[in-house]
């Protein structure tokens, strides 16, 4: 062990890319950025320390929305300050959102186009939307909504992007004090932080590429939290002294994209055949060691709006063959993309290939660099591909509007290149409605359509499992915040 | 009479090879007396070099096998000497120079460095004294700007110059025996003459014995007191140079001399020796020259030994035996 009780060490597989909240779209970066910044609202924590899907004010003390849901007014709490001592005021919020939208990078996409942000007082900000946007409040809790110190504007003529990519300018509990690239990052408490003073005096994020090495370091007590360990390592770790493998129900799903635009997958019966040819339980038992459940349609368990009546496929070779016969067979070679981003993908790919070969389908596996794979999603040059999805905010919107909207083909979310006018209509209706019951009904209908049309293969929903030293206390997992730690609320027992 | 500076008795050397062992030396007896200049002549491959190199222990270890014979230098049996003693001997009492002056010097060291190394290794001279000695040696070799030459690298000098330097080095420690293996073969005639002359004069002047290897009968005849004629790893004739070359007693020696174009009549064909030298993997049982010999007869199937055919003149041929018998 390190002997330094006030130091918490997190082991990650790879270095963050950029620390600018207006730039990064990667959970791997968010581990570091999220605690550096504050947002208007934050996810709530239950009495017994569980992460909730509802939000409470963080910078905002209070807010209200117009009846039609297009004008949102936030009052800022006083006493929050950036690490350089400057107070967090309405101007800072206005600056941050304008900067986000002006840069126009990935994170800006979470907010509806045409959104206007204005400081309507020293401590009051008003958001004006062109049309209602149901999940709006929740989007404000996501990483991209972090409030940035307007002082960064002076750090270069690029809205301080280059500077911010390697430095922090937030009002979060911690600030970045060191970054040895490829080795480690150091976070230390923000002396001007408005909330309760964090207990941990120093947080070090060590970059350790090799999973085996991360595990050994954790076992040796050199790190407290080891991220992204493969299932097999976690199982082995469970019995190690001083290490605890924590399980949290999560909203992270793993599914297969079936390219609805490409033969033979453009035939709905082929897709149905495929959906019935996958041995879901076999994958969960074999590859996940039982740590997961089969999905029931696109919306995961634990998120409101799931329709239990929608079709759930199960491994049934006979009906799969029947469906394929209906389709008239399929002779084309089907490409199957995956990358090493998730170690589970390869076994899934191999297993799926084997399952589909029982149907006589000819699947060609292509393991790509993650970036290349995403490129192919975007251009639609693929047959099947693996994917993981976790929601950035707590709304079924994350699983429906992204996945099925024909305007979001490709990387934007609809990676099956699925198009259905009826579904588009349902999606549009659901997004502008602020009535949860109505939305549930709309989404329910949608789920029946898309599962029947087998747009994706809904594999499984997997628990979030993390290995930590047993002296780490106060960790709250929030399913919207995968790979993100609430360092400010955590502590180390003696 | 003093001990011979070099005495070789019944030497046999073979090289293991693919097709079988190459019997390079097949029983050579040879001696060099103090102050004497002895020539070793024969066709290529007749084992002139191997004989000399074996005597000085310069053949690469492992590549060859000495299957018989003794070698003694200055009265001491080489086989009983340690490597240290051999090293002391080489470059001191015994020196050797080789055929290719182009490559015989270390290409990356100056002449001075290489000369001083030998002088300091085998004498008490150091520093300036050693340098003076080097300059003196070079001057003896008719190298005028000796001081400047010491700072030069071998590649900057001509072949003749290099060979003279090597001779100078060989005489650095007043050797009692100098083995010169075709020292002028690679040189032009004018240079050859200069080098031979200097070598001859220096040997006479210091009283060193010389074992002079060449395949050029003319050079041998002018340079040596006594010669050995070799053929296929054996000595076939030996004796005073004038006697052997003027009155050869072995058909091989005779045929060699006749084959020289020097005195030939341009109108008539040259007297050539038919055939080629025997394969040394299976050296002939009897006389090695048998197959090419005009006079070959039944007796040649057994091996002739060197026998006296005149005073100090020996030949290994059954013909002489018959004549004398």
């Amino acid at each position: 062990a390190d002997g330094d009780a006030d130091l918490l060490v997190v082991a990650k597989a790879s270095d963050p890319q950029t620390l600018d909240p207006a730039q990064t779209m990667d959970n791997n970066d968010w581990t570091v950025t999220y605690p550096l910044y504050q947002r208007l609202v934050a996810y709530d924590v239950s009495e017994d320390g569980k992460g909730l899907t509802s939000v409470v004010g963080e910078l905002a003390s209070d807010w209200s929305a117009s009846d039609d849901g297009t004008v949102w007014t936030f009052d800022l709490a006083s006493g929050n300050a950036f690490s350089d001592g400057a107070a967090v005021d309405a101007a800072a919020v206005e600056y941050s959102f304008n900067r986000l939208m002006a840069l126009g990078r990935g994170p800006s996409e979470a907010f509806p186009g045409g959104m206007k942000v204005e400081a309507t007082g020293d401590m009051q900000v008003t958001f004006t939307l062109e049309q209602p946007f149901a999940p709006f409040l929740y989007t404000l809790a996501n990483n991209g909504a972090g409030i940035v110190n307007p002082a960064v504007e002076g750090k270069g003529d690029d809205h301080g992007t280059e500077w911010l990519s390697a430095n922090s300018a937030g009002s979060g509990a911690y600030m970045l004090t060191g970054w040895e690239r490829g080795q480690s990052l150091v976070l230390e408490p923000n002396p001007n932080y408005g909330g309760a003073t964090p207990e941990i005096e120093k947080i070090r994020v060590d970059i350790i590429a090799e999973a085996a090495a991360r595990r050994l370091k954790l076992e040796a007590g050199d790190v407290h939290i080891a991220e992204s360990l493969p299932v097999d390592q976690l199982d082995a770790l469970g019995s190690t002294d001083g290490v605890e493998v924590q399980n949290y129900p999560s909203l992270k799903v793993t599914y297969l994209y079936l390219n609805n635009k490409v033969a033979p997958l453009d035939n709905v019966d082929v897709r149905r055949a495929i959906s019935a040819a996958v041995d879901y339980q076999g994958i969960i038992d074999g590859i996940l060691d039982g740590n997961g459940v089969q999905m029931h349609g696109p919306i995961p368990e634990g998120m409101w709006g799931q329709n239990k009546n929608a079709t759930q496929y199960s491994y049934d070779l006979a009906s799969a063959k029947k469906a394929l016969d209906v389709a008239g067979g399929a002779s084309e070679e089907i490409s199957f993309l995956y990358s090493d981003r998730d170690p589970l993908w390869e076994p899934i790919a191999i297993a799926t290939q084997a399952y589909l070969s029982q149907l006589g389908l000819n699947v060609k596996l292509e393991k790509l660099a993650n970036a290349t794979m995403r490129e192919r999603f975007d251009t639609g040059e693929f047959g099947i591909a693996t994917g993981n999805w976790s929601p950035d905010f707590a709304d079924p919107y994350m699983f429906t509007n992204y996945w099925f909207d024909s305007k979001r083909h490709g990387l934007a979310g609809n990676r099956s290149w699925y198009s259905n006018d009826k579904v588009d209509g349902l999606l549009q209706q659901a997004v502008v409605s602020s009535d949860t019951a109505e939305r549930t009904a709309l989404y329910g209908e949608l789920q029946e359509i898309v599962t029947d049309e087998a747009a994706y293969v809904y594999l499984f929903q997997k628990d979030y499992r993390i290995a930590v030293r047993d002296d780490v206390e106060g960790f709250v997992f929030n399913p919207m915040l995968e790979d993100i730690f609430n360092f400010g609320g955590m502590s180390l027992s003696d | 009479m003093a001990d011979p500076v070099l005495k070789i008795d019944g030497l046999e050397v073979l090289f293991p090879g693919f097709a079988g062992d190459v019997h390079a030396v097949n029983g050579v007896d040879l001696d060099v007396q103090p102050g004497e200049i002895v020539g070793l002549v024969g066709e290529s491959g007749s084992a002139k070099s191997v004989t000399a190199m074996t005597a000085l222990g310069l053949l690469p270890t492992g590549a060859f096998r000495q299957s018989a014979g003794t070698i003694s230098i200055l009265g001491r049996d080489v086989a009983t000497m340690s490597e240290r003693e051999m090293n002391k001997l080489r470059g001191g009492d015994v020196a050797m120079i080789f055929q290719e002056p182009q490559t015989a010097l270390n290409p990356t060291k100056t002449i001075g460095k290489q000369m001083l190394r030998v002088i300091e290794l085998h004498s008490d001279l150091r520093g300036m004294a050693a340098r003076d000695r080097a300059i003196e040696l070079l001057k003896d070799m008719r190298i005028n700007d000796a001081e400047e030459i010491l700072g030069r690298y071998p590649f900057e000098l001509s072949g003749g110059m290099r060979q003279r330097i090597l001779i100078g080095m060989a005489f650095a420690c007043s050797p009692k025996l100098l083995v010169a293996d075709e020292p002028t073969t690679a040189l032009d005639v004018t240079v050859q003459r200069q080098v031979l002359q200097l070598l001859h004069a220096k040997a006479r002047q210091t009283g060193a014995s010389v074992l002079f290897i060449s395949h050029d009968l003319a050079v041998i005849s002018q340079f040596c007191d006594r010669i050995y004629v070799m053929y296929a790893g054996r000595v076939v004739e030996s004796g005073p140079a004038q006697k052997v070359l003027g009155n050869p007693q072995h058909p091989y020696t005779a045929a060699l001399i006749e084959a020289l174009p020097e005195d030939a009549d341009p109108g008539a064909p040259l007297a050539s020796i038919p055939g080629t030298v025997p394969n040394l993997v299976n050296p002939p049982k009897g006389c090695a020259f048998q197959a090419r010999c005009r006079h070959a007869h039944a007796a040649c199937d057994s091996r002739p030994v060197l026998t006296d055919v005149g005073s100090k003149h020996q030949a290994a041929c059954w013909l002489r035996e018959e004549i004398s018998a």
Binding site: D232, Q353, A354 | L280
Partner: protein
């Protein structure tokens, strides 16, 4: 220059044409070459007859028998989807060996011709070709290969093409160097006096005489190509699943190295042994053929 000298001169013997008896004699003298050759033959044998020696279908998955330890059922254990590692290693050798031969043949052929051409024509052509090769050589080869493989799309054949492209300059250099040497030999001068065309000289004099050094390089390259191909597979730019390939197996196996050491150990050993064997053999042949290392 007598018969006696001729019959034992190893260089000329070996250079003349393949003299199997002589080659065998030299190889026998060197236990390492012999050992390398024996292993190479064994590997080739095992790999060619993989279906005979394999105990399982190399691609048959069994999710319920994942990561099994070596046993009588699975000599080298199973992988993360329950495939038999022993059978996969046998089949995997086919990829490695095939890539090796492919690269060496392609790069060898192209490189030899280009080099001989450059050396023979000389002047501008030579300068241009050689400068181009120098530039290619000064680009970090692994990066070039990785980039090429990425551009062509990850697959073993693309990796092999990329490696071959990068190896061409090596052969160009060798064959050009050798051509320059041969061009100076008087039999080429003689051919020039016969008014022989460049093509004639290339066909009859240059190519036959540059073959030995090229062959030596090729044997050595087999070893390094196998290594390189597996390195590419290791970083995911080589063979694609479910095809068995050694480098890819080590790559996946590294995730399990702590608990299932055999997963990466066996394919790693396979690479090591095969590459070593090819290198030993190549080394030995070079020692025999290299005119510089005269037998003394």
């Amino acid at each position: 220059m007598s018969d006696a000298t001729v019959s034992v001169n190893p260089i000329k013997r070996a250079l003349s044409r393949v003299d199997w008896g002589y080659l065998w004699y030299q190889i026998k003298k060197s236990p390492l070459t012999l050992g390398g050759g024996a292993v190479v033959l064994t590997v080739l044998f095992l790999v060619i007859f993989a279906p005979v020696f394999a105990t399982h279908d190399p691609n048959a998955i069994d999710l319920r028998a994942r990561l099994a330890a070596p046993s009588w059922d699975h000599f080298f254990g199973t992988d993360e989807v329950g495939r038999d590692l022993y059978s996969r290693i046998l089949y995997g050798g086919r990829q490695s060996v095939a890539v090796g031969f492919f690269v060496v043949l392609v790069a060898g052929f192209i490189g030899t011709f280009v080099g001989a051409f450059a050396g023979l024509i000389g002047r501008r052509v030579d300068v241009v070709i050689m400068r181009l090769m120098d530039v290619v050589l000064s680009v970090p080869s692994l990066v070039l290969i990785m980039a090429l493989a990425a551009a062509l799309g990850p697959s073993l054949i693309n990796a092999a093409i990329a490696i071959a492209l990068v190896r061409i300059p090596v052969y160009v250099r060798i064959s050009r160097g050798q051509t320059l040497l041969i061009r100076e030999m008087s039999f080429v001068t003689a051919a020039e006096t016969f008014k022989a065309s460049k093509l004639h000289i290339l066909r009859w004099h240059i190519l036959p005489n540059i073959l030995s050094p090229v062959m030596v390089q090729a044997t050595l390259d087999l070893g390094s190509t196998i290594l390189l191909a597996s390195a590419l597979s290791f970083i995911g730019l080589g063979a694609q699943q479910p095809t068995a390939e050694w480098g890819a197996m080590v790559a996946t196996g590294r995730n399990y190295i702590l608990d299932q050491w055999w997963y990466s150990a066996f394919p790693g050993f396979a690479i090591l042994i095969t590459a070593t064997a090819f290198n030993l053999l190549g080394d030995g042949i070079r020692d025999i053929l290299d005119p510089k290392q005269k037998a003394r």
